[in-house]
Subunit: 337 residues, 4 copies
């Protein structure tokens, strides 16, 4: 049995991780830590979870008894705990953005301070199993991808080598849980319900992560125009990628075949012929992808859907843990999260 | 007083028109016609409307007593009534797509049959006041624009002359009322609620209308990649236009100034500096537009929001009527629809 | 022109009042005060309002120049400002609960401290126009009713004299705006959306107000069992009253007639024969009421719907102002709020 | 392995049954029948189900090879198939109302025709496990309870013997899936969203079923006033029962203890001290119940929540199957439906 801890277990990603790990057949929960809810029970804080455990304060000593720790602290804080735990010999899956940018200079640019652990930045593996499975298996520190990047990269990857010069346009729409549990004007029911808007219309921090990974896929610096929106739904991201192709746009069947082949062995990517809706992936670790030629416009549209808290965060983290510990990749991820 | 009739008054656009016209200070309602609700009262069919009138069967003779008729029949049917009424000397505002495509051959291609009134197609004026106000004033037959085209064209117009070669990408998200009153699997609450999807991902019929008008604005055939989505909201469209610019992307202030100047005299277009949400225009005839440079991607993003049933249909139709009859353009369009 | 001020104009009730007063033909806005948004513009804080005004800090001296002040401070605070302004000669409509309980001892019991202005408690008029129109006309201080009480009292009033002994059961369901603008776990989109719950299941503070007024209507101390619920909607309250009747339950037509007669002259109460939905009153000052006999159970069900922020708060406050200043009662309350 | 068939598998209850049975460890799916979707695959009709099976036309001969059949045809039709299958030796769980009323005369009164199988009416067992577990175990024909009755009866049962004379008031609120998959004006997104209403305000057909079972619990004919409402949510019912008590209202702790004892051995009833929300039971077979004294009104409020399609229909049907075939009662019902 793997001893697993969740550090920062009372945010949304921590909540979903607690649930997933509690029913994982090869996991024994070691510690659930929290800053705000120490001493309180999981079912008290989240009445829809039927989970008998209590939140503890974080200490490196306590968590050091784990085989793996999931760090769910906010960006610009998580690296402190992650570094400490790696040092203590715990394998870490960090759900923040702190180790996603491979170039520490980029981190400084987007987050406003020098990353204190550049060596760990170098060592960290970007935890998208469909692209980096083998490196994840051996990693001490996995940088679990952002939710928007996951949805975009799985849409782009099969065609990246054929992309024409020019910007890749990524228009994403996310449910509110992506904004976190914090109660703000922005997450107030009356702000979101029956409403819709774009936000961080240029310069959302996930842009850097997307540019980095798409450029690796295309093999050259690739500009990206990324626009996130806030949907009046709880869970899910739908992304449309507008990808200009070099050398002409193939027909629908060829494109579908190319995607189906690319993901043929993937347990959690489903290539479909009907444009997918959020409903089809909510509460699951699946990503559904649909590719459509738009020859009149000289581009391909790729539509992807994920659950932002599962494949976009906690489910993908469990998938990474399964890879790191040599388990069946889908263990504990069947059924609804 | 203008005698006004609504033909097909029990769909959503007819419902909103009935409401708007009933409180318009210069309008006297002549006839509200319906196929399904003959003899029933407006307030019985739409309990939220406090309007004392009854639905009648359509006849050209009855409606011929009007100064203006709003035709709200479905595409591929509306032209029959519109032609008959124009013939009878009634000025017609047609809310269907039947007279929007200027080239009758295009109509045949998209709707599958020869347009029986090519002369009226030639005569009809595309009813977007911000572009064609003078021609609308003199028109016998106005083709009221589609909801998606309205949102896209108002976003594109100020910069169209500067567009680079290449496709204009238009990613639109619409509330469910845009799908009409018909009860189908697609409009069932349980299909839409807490869900989101793209539909008609390539080849939505509004594409032809958008291509036609954008090409007129740019002055050359301009490819468009248009993707509509279905939002779990009742009213509103949010469109993001990704517009590649020739000659470099100006800064935010210059772009805002350009839009503000372009629409300085428009009563219903508001150029804003914060990305607008649907809430800001729902139930109104306003369009809000916000322009954002994305220099790293070599393009400009323009975000527009409208209420699909007001500025995207019935409100714009009333605005056109005001222009046609020499009234103040905003008469009867203040407050919430 | 009446000079009107709103004290605490940036909560939801203040927001709706600002909008209603700004378009009221006999009102000139004197001051909008705020604690959190001093110096900021209305349209900046509420982008859907097209209102050119700025928030000022509150001072009695500044507001004293008004003919009427609407006090929108929270319960247990509002009485301070209200007393100060009455003293300064301003007629006050207080939207808090501070002057609704006629017995100051009751106030102490429910709010935990002695009311510092028992004389004003005695003087204040409970501002439900349908019951107290004449006293409102002459009042210096109006205690604007709570939203739940408004929905319950208008449902009960016509039959109160025929109520049997025993508890009146009031089951109410409210939209989220009733919980105020405060961002909390409870108002977070992900807590409310696709969800439903009862809250304050016994002992909600509005109970005292309802018991007081129903007892006045029946003429004897009348027990009430009141249960509020939180609906995943923005605006509106639907209340079902289960009223046991003495002397048998009349048939549907007689009951409807009785209600129709009782409210025949009321501009804002509509007695209907189909069970009303929230949609029919949202954004309006109307209350719709429907009465249904349930003879097998020996009782009558009365269903009422209002918009909690309009007839349940700010609209009713404007209605009270109209009465106090001898204006047409519906002035400024036509159309949608 | 139990061979199981679903007759009428493409309504909502059939859809949930297909999903639950497909992952039940002791079930082999025999046939899924449909009238509208013959020859089509499950995943094609319900893209969110990852289930590889096809819909067949119904025939008694085909289904007769099953050990158990779940009949999901509409009321007033289902009895035809149920009778035929019982005759063929298949144990039947009927999800319609056709065998719920124990007195065939009652059936005639509510459904307008003589029940053609009065002997089966006598034989059928009302399938609420918490009340009739032993009889269910031996039954050939189980009448699976209605969703509203399930929520009401589990709330009332522990206190039924202490109920005072007088009506039991039951105020229920249901998600839209309870209205079925049929696309109608009533289930159109724009009718339900951001809206709320009561319907069938007196005389909903579930009333007869509730009266029957509550009267059995109290031991005397007991009047019931039942009011259902339509919530803008997909899944779930919240019921508040107002129960007048004979002999005084006990305190909260005693009442909670009484409920906790009554349901101590029940796998799917959770007695809680915080008023439950729909979220806590959606997609599960749990019922949560909370009891609150309201001594001032001389009654007790009991709040219950279920998922209308799981504990209110298909999950309870699987629970009944487990009982009938001697399996662990919760088998296949863990996790989310």
């Amino acid at each position: 049995m793997i001893q697993a801890s969740v550090v920062g277990a009372t945010g949304y990603t921590g909540m979903v991780l607690s649930h997933l790990l509690s029913r994982h057949p090869q996991v024994r929960m070691h510690a659930l830590t929290s800053r705000s809810y120490v001493g309180r029970g999981v079912a008290e804080v989240f009445p829809h979870l039927r989970l008998d455990a209590q939140y503890e304060p974080y200490s490196a000593a306590r968590v050091a008894g784990s085989d793996v720790a999931f760090v769910c602290h906010p960006h610009a804080e998580a690296h402190l705990v992650a570094a400490e735990l790696v040092e203590a010999g715990v394998r870490v899956i960090d759900l923040s953005a702190d180790f996603r940018l491979r170039d520490a200079a980029q981190y400084a640019e987007w987050y406003g301070f020098e990353h204190p652990y550049p060596d760990l930045v170098d060592e960290a593996v970007y935890g998208l199993p469909e692209l980096y499975r083998e490196r994840i298996a051996a990693a001490r520190l996995v940088a679990n991808p952002g939710c928007y990047p996951t949805s975009a990269l799985l849409a782009v990857a099969p065609l990246a080598k054929r992309a024409a010069e020019g910007a890749v346009i990524i228009d994403s729409k996310s449910g509110v849980s992506g904004a976190g549990r914090g109660a703000t004007d922005k997450t107030h029911f009356c702000s979101v319900h029956d409403n819709f808007k774009a936000y961080s219309e240029v310069g959302h921090r996930h842009t850097a992560e997307i540019v980095q990974e798409i450029s690796l896929l295309t093999g050259r610096p690739t500009p990206v125009s990324f626009t996130p929106h806030l949907l009046p739904v709880d869970r899910g991201i739908l992304t449309v990628v507008y990808l200009p192709l070099a050398g002409g746009v193939a027909d629908a069947a060829s494109l579908h075949g190319l995607y189906a082949d690319f993901y043929a062995d993937e347990p959690f990517v489903e290539v479909v012929t009907q444009a997918p809706s959020l409903r089809e992936v909510q509460w699951t670790n699946y990503c559904r992808v649909c590719v459509r030629p738009d020859p009149a416009a000289g581009l391909v549209k790729v539509i992807s859907v994920i659950d932002n808290l599962v494949k976009g965060a906690s489910g993908q983290a469990v998938q990474n843990m399964n890879i790191m510990f040599g388990l069946e990749e889908s263990l504990g991820l069947e059924g609804k999260a």
